[in-house]
């Protein structure tokens, strides 16, 4: 079963690496944020698999921490970075 866990983690890491394309192509700031969200969720999944593969229950706590705090970055993004009125640059290629 351990080999299956390692294999599944590998597949998940590949999907993350593929998702990185959206990070570099954008176009809006929210797209880049979504890629870090994908990193977070996949990180949770990989931690769950690692805890099963290594038989280490403490890694579940890492997954739980990532799950509980996944909202902080998004909230900071919408609260600080994307707050305020709409600017033309929000909709175009550049996401400053």
């Amino acid at each position: 079963m351990t080999a299956v866990y390692w294999g599944a983690s590998t597949v998940l890491l590949v999907t993350v690496a593929v998702g990185l394309w959206r990070f570099f192509s954008g176009p809006t700031a929210a797209d880049r944020l979504m890629v870090t969200q994908l990193f977070g969720t996949t990180g949770v999944a990989i931690c769950l698999l690692l805890s099963a593969a290594l038989g280490n229950a403490a890694i579940l706590d890492v997954a739980l921490a990532l799950a509980l705090l996944a909202v902080v970055t998004t909230a900071a993004f919408t609260r600080f970075y994307w707050s305020g009125p709409s600017r033309p640059s929000d909709r175009r290629e550049r996401d400053d």
Binding site: M1, V4, Y5, A8, V11, L12, T15, V16, V18, G19, W21, R22, T28, A30, D31, L33, M34, V35, Q37, L38, T41, T42, V44, A45, L48, L49, A52, G55, A57, L60, D61, A63, L64, A67, L68, A70, V71, T74, A75, F77, T78, W82, S86, D90, R91
Partner: protein
């Protein structure tokens, strides 16, 4: 037997994660990409939790797995709402299908 069911669930999970990534790359606007992303969160992670749940070594292990799933769902719903609302407020265009000739 249990190992095979677990492996099957893990395959489903991987399919949903792959689907989430492909959707993130291929869908035309922020809102539909958000949909693809949250599918990976909820169902993909759900299948992983199921696969590990039937293998769980103790009750606290199982409880933590369930907690992780519940909070990932709550967080991804909150995140999706925050992103979509802010994007709408920022007038990020919603994709409409091209006109049929």
């Amino acid at each position: 037997m249990i190992d095979w069911i677990s492996a099957l669930f893990l395959v489903f999970a991987a399919l949903f994660f792959i689907g989430g990534s492909v959707g993130l790359l291929r869908f035309p606007d922020v809102y539909s990409r958000l949909h693809a992303l949250t599918k990976a969160d909820n169902i993909g992670l759900g299948f992983i939790v199921l696969a590990l749940l039937i293998q769980a070594r103790s009750w606290d292990w199982a409880l933590k797995l369930l907690l992780v799933w519940i909070f990932v769902m709550a967080a991804s719903a909150t995140n999706a709402y925050l992103i979509a609302r802010t994007a709408l407020r920022k007038d990020i265009p919603v994709w409409t299908p091209p006109e049929q000739e």
